[in-house]
């Protein structure tokens, strides 16, 4: 049976039930799809989890200073500064650069004068974002169906 099936383009009172059915069906599938995502942490392997408290608190520190307004993670965020997903492991960057930028800043990034504790949390967070994968588009292959996959 087609999802939408009307007898004519003109108004037909009997058709009022059909949109309700279609809407309900799509909503149930959507909720199931959402639930499959919500349950993911419960069934994840610990190796890809960042349940370490420092990293989790570092995520909140990232939000507290609104780092996302200038920087990206996995290409999502602001455009004024570079993507920081893999800055922790980048050649000539890593923890020393992260600490230096947070302490003194380089225009247009201001010096945030963060306390050592918060710097450590942000470093822990960026260490874990790096461990989760790569945001570098050069590290992806293009498959024949148009999808991309990490090399």
């Amino acid at each position: 049976m087609p999802i939408i099936s009307f007898h004519s383009a003109e108004f037909d009172y009997n058709m009022t039930l059909r949109p309700v059915h279609s809407f309900s069906f799509l909503s149930v599938v959507f909720l199931a799809f959402s639930l499959s995502i919500y349950l993911k942490p419960a069934f994840s392997l610990p190796t890809i989890d960042i349940a370490k408290p420092e990293a989790s608190k570092g995520r909140l520190t990232w939000q507290k200073y609104n780092c996302q307004s200038c920087h990206q993670l996995y290409g999502l965020g602001g455009y004024l500064g570079p993507d920081l997903t893999n800055v922790y492991a980048a050649p000539n960057k890593g923890e020393p650069l992260i600490r230096a930028m947070l302490q003194i800043g380089i225009p247009p990034m201001p010096s945030f004068n963060l306390p050592e504790e918060e710097i450590a949390l942000l470093v822990a967070f960026l260490k874990e974002t790096n461990a989760s994968g790569t945001a570098d588009p050069r590290m992806f292959l293009i498959l024949s169906n148009g999808m991309t996959q990490r090399k």
Partner: protein, 449 residues
């Protein structure tokens, strides 16, 4: 016809127009960071200005969409007396807006991108939305059967509160502790939220077209419902195209990819109806709501083409994280959402008389200036994005700061086009607000909203 809902609608549309003005001022100020070296020493921090701009524009759309729904409902449902729910809803909005801007000014962040304010201010916003749902249910339960635009309004209103709640799942350590799932949910939310207000606005566009064409059967046609369900399907499942590089499950990425490709149907429909649209445009050209809807149609075609191409993962690899994405966001927000809202403002504000005021050359001039400046604005962002995309894929890679310096020309054009665009939009807003306050629209006070 004038009743409480229509007045409430006008009140929301006027508030939305003020938010647009605030958003434009913050947008221009934020853009200075891209073109003036050392801007940070003279301005409020970029991390405050950017969310101020984004939030003000989102409130323009959300308040405007609310105003459109209330104004549309006024043609079905009458209230004789003042409605405390509607009044409380509006005050909750004002409390939320005040709190959110105070939060940004003080640097009191804590939220996620696009909702960076202290999460406490999400509460009045959510409460206002729940009251909106209550009023909506009260009004639409007497409409039988629902035309397609009422379905679209309902979808937008319901899915907004669902996604808005989902937007705060990160408050629970269970979700926050798993970075990839957390980001998956974050972009599921962002996709659904924009899908929600699009449903409310496209519903309004449908409602306006039905009134302009004086053909009430269109809202019950097979095609209209087919397009509605395709839109709903995309709202629910196409958001995966935001996160192709995120190491989330393949079924999420493939669902996003496959569902996004169904948007070719919208594309085909617009192209198929093109000839008819042109003849209609010639007929209704002097009617301002139609003119803005026609502009929205053209921007739909431009942005839909771009969106479909960007949703192909192989191409997305080049555009993701670049200004092509910004161009798309700006193109849809200004070109589609704002044009529909302007059409609604011309129809509903000032008792509709301004909609026929074809002798007003300022509106015509501002309309065409808006379209031209937006095109330049959009092209400059795309060119900057293409250049950044090439940089992203290059080996070896020059430093980020050097690449950004290479984009200065495009940012300069983007700023000048933005300035012209903002001037044109300010002119339109001032004409609309003057009409709201001077044309016998004082019913609002008499009904104690």
């Amino acid at each position: 016809m004038t009743n409480l809902y229509q007045n409430i609608g006008k009140y929301y549309l006027a508030t939305a127009l003020l938010m647009l003005c605030i958003g434009l001022v913050f947008g221009l100020t934020t853009a200075l960071y891209y073109i003036i070296p050392g801007a940070e020493s003279h301005l409020l921090g970029f991390n405050s200005l950017r969310p101020m701009h984004v939030s003000a524009i989102m409130f323009w759309i959300l308040l405007g969409a609310t105003g459109c729904v209330y104004s549309g409902l006024a043609f079905f449902y009458k209230f004789e007396s003042p409605n405390p729910i509607a009044r409380t809803q509006w005050f909750l909005w004002i409390i939320a807006i005040g709190g959110i801007f105070y939060s940004y000014t003080k640097g009191d962040f804590g939220g996620r991108e696009y909702w960076e304010f202290n999460p406490i201010w999400a509460l009045p916003l959510a409460m206002a939305w729940l009251l909106f749902i209550l009023n909506f249910i009260k009004a639409v339960k007497k409409i039988k059967p629902w035309p397609v635009y009422v379905w679209m309004w309902m979808t937008g209103i319901v899915f907004f509160i669902f996604a808005f709640t989902e937007n705060y799942l990160w408050l629970f350590p269970y979700f926050r502790g798993h970075f990839v799932t957390d980001m998956t949910i974050q972009w599921k939310v962002n996709g659904s939220l924009s899908g929600s207000w699009n449903q409310m606005l496209y519903g309004t566009a449908f409602f306006l077209m039905e009134r302009i064409n004086k053909n009430s059967t269109v809202g019950h046609s097979k095609l209209a419902f087919g397009m509605y369900f395709l839109g709903l399907f995309n709202l629910m499942f196409n958001w995966g195209h935001h996160i192709y590089t995120l190491p989330t499950d393949d079924y999420v990425r493939y669902t996003g990819y496959i569902v996004s490709m169904t948007e070719w149907v919208f594309f085909a429909k617009i192209v198929y109806n093109w000839r008819q649209s042109i003849s209609e445009a010639q007929k209704h050209y002097h009617y301002f709501p139609y003119r803005f809807l026609m502009a929205a149609d053209i921007w739909v075609l431009i942005n839909l083409s771009q969106a479909i191409l960007m949703s192909i993962p192989a191409l997305n690899l080049y555009t993701h994280g670049t200004h092509v994405t910004v161009a798309h966001a700006m193109g849809t927000t200004i070109g589609i959402n704002s044009m529909i809202l302007f059409a609604a403002c011309f129809e509903f504000l000032g008792n509709g008389s301004i909609a026929f005021n074809t002798k007003n050359r300022w509106i015509t001039l501002s309309f065409w200036t808006t379209q031209s400046a937006l095109l330049v604005f959009w092209v400059s962002l795309n060119l900057a994005g293409i250049k950044k995309g090439i940089w992203q894929m290059s080996e070896p890679q020059i430093p980020f700061s050097t690449m950004m310096k290479g984009l200065h020309l495009y940012f300069g054009i983007f700023f000048v086009a933005g300035l012209v665009l903002a001037t044109a939009l300010f002119t339109i807003v001032s004409i609309l607000l003057r009409s709201y306050w001077t044309i016998p629209g004082k019913e609002l006070q008499t009904e104690n909203v």
